[in-house]
């Protein structure tokens, strides 16, 4: 089973996770920029984070045979902090980088006017840079948030088929599907979606334009949830081809819209004799 996790925050994960992910079949991932749990207080803090997503994290991933790309943006939560919003002015010089495959995560957190402004501005940046957009749908007041998100996308210059609506569930999948966007589902241990509910949605909606991710981060989450969905699909009677479509071909097709995906990587161990993040003395 070859797996592409289209949404995972590896900055918060360990090398044990990378090793387990490779063993589970994960060969590629996309790391969206997001909130760190701890609020940032200046644009410079974002720049260091963006640099890590463009440099150090792909290097770490490559040690374990995993291709790493990223999406960059001002996240919805910090779009409300005037200390952070100047990041929007700096994004153009980051969005030209070779491993940036979308603008994201953008979208709504609390549906404020500041979030409206940041979402519209960043959909425009995506259109200007030939990039698709990864759009987070809110945790609170989700269906209303989805509707408002779809409205803003309709008013933007970015066509819906270049948008991935993420963190969907049973209550939002139909309207998201009707919008023409790609459909993202985050599988979590306790919150968001789980494997069996995901299988049920795949049964009713099919596999077209559906992406499944672990969204693993610094909270209770599991970087192997993509594999677990693949196993649950097979157990439920889906074919290997169905699994490959959801877990590999769909994310490749969506992020491939950027023209910037590079999925060839040497196998781990070919890079360094130690096959580890060498910090010396190992």
């Amino acid at each position: 089973m070859r797996i592409f996790d289209p949404h995972i925050h590896m900055t918060s994960r360990t090398t044990d996770d990378y090793e387990a992910m490779y063993d589970a079949g994960i060969r590629a991932l996309v790391e969206p920029s997001f909130w760190l749990g701890q609020p940032r207080t200046s644009p410079a803090s974002f720049f260091d984070y963006f640099d890590a997503l463009l440099g150090w994290e792909p290097f770490r991933a490559a040690q374990y045979g995993i291709a790493h790309h990223c999406t960059l943006a001002l996240n919805p939560k910090e779009a409300n902090d005037p200390r952070c919003t100047p990041v929007l002015d700096a994004l153009p010089r980051y969005l030209v980088k070779d491993s940036v495959v979308a603008v994201g995560e953008i979208g709504y957190d609390s549906m404020t006017p500041a979030e409206d402004t940041a979402l519209a501005a960043q959909l425009q940046l995506a259109a200007d840079h030939g990039l698709p957009a990864l759009v987070h749908t809110p945790h609170r007041d989700k269906l209303a948030g989805l509707r408002r998100t779809v409205d803003v996308i309709r008013e933007s210059h970015l066509p819906p088929e270049r948008v991935l609506l993420d963190h969907l569930n049973e209550t939002t999948v139909k309207e998201a599907c009707d919008s023409g966007a790609w459909l993202g589902f985050s599988i979590y241990p306790d919150t968001k979606m789980d494997e069996d509910r995901m299988v049920a949605i795949l049964r009713s909606h099919g596999t077209e334009r559906v992406l499944v991710n672990s969204a693993a981060d610094w909270g209770k989450s599991d970087p192997l949830k993509t594999r677990k969905v693949g196993d649950a699909m097979l157990a439920a009677g889906f074919s290997d081809d169905d699994v490959d479509r959801v877990l590999w071909r769909n994310p490749v097709a969506f992020y491939g819209l950027s023209g910037r995906l590079h999925l060839d990587l040497p196998s781990p161990g070919a890079l360094h004799e130690g096959n580890s993040i060498l910090r010396g003395g190992e």
Partner: protein, 206 residues
């Protein structure tokens, strides 16, 4: 060492050649009009080309294309520093590889020092090139050699290694201590360590 424009053009497809021609024209324009107004977050058009060279010309040609652009723009220390600080690891690598031919003195050493502080082997390998061989002080250079051994960067990457290592008793002592530490831990020696140790023998003994 720098690939010429003609050599490079011969290896690129038609679309990439056209892109390169445009990029070089923009870089040449920047060289002639160095006072192009740029805000704190704005970049000159050739600098955006510098960033996107990999996907337009292929990752295997990215170093050569970027270095050619730096030459065409006659990038000085300020520009190189900005591009390094704003760059991905691949862009930083190209800046490091171009230093010797673009910066006559030691002014760009802070970039080398920055790269040597990372654990990214792509950057460490590019940092120990000929610019470091020419300008890096002996203490920092010894640590750079040791870092290559620690992180698995082949010492072939260290420019001018035999000349700078010859007779360096402090480096020899550091290498021997490192070998002792590895042995005490029951771990194998890096394959390059005995080779470098041999190079530290003073001329009269070799």
């Amino acid at each position: 060492m720098t690939t010429t424009r003609d050599e490079l053009a011969g290896r690129l497809g038609a679309a990439a050649r056209t892109w390169l021609d445009e990029a070089l024209t923009e870089a040449a324009h920047a060289a002639d009009t160095p006072s192009d107004p740029t805000g704190p977050y704005l970049s000159a058009s050739w600098e955006l080309r510098f960033a996107s060279a990999g996907r337009h010309c292929g990752p295997e040609h990215a170093d050569s294309v970027r270095i050619l652009l730096l030459h065409q723009a006659r990038a000085g220390t300020d520009t190189l520093t900005r591009l390094y600080q704003h760059g991905t690891a691949a862009e930083r690598r190209a800046v490091l590889l171009a230093l010797l031919s673009l910066v006559p003195g030691p002014e760009a050493l802070p970039l080398v020092a920055d790269a040597l502080r990372t654990n990214d082997t792509r950057l460490v390998a590019a940092a120990v090139g000929p610019y470091a061989a020419t300008h890096l002080d002996q203490h920092s250079w010894r640590h750079a050699v040791l870092k290559c051994l620690f992180t698995g960067v082949p010492v072939e990457a260290v420019a001018d290694l035999p000349r700078r290592a010859r007779g360096d008793t402090a480096l020899a002592r550091m290498l021997a201590d490192y070998a002792d530490e590895r042995s005490a831990a029951g771990r194998p020696l890096p394959a390059d360590l005995p080779r470098v140790l041999t190079l530290t023998v003073p001329p009269e003994e070799s």
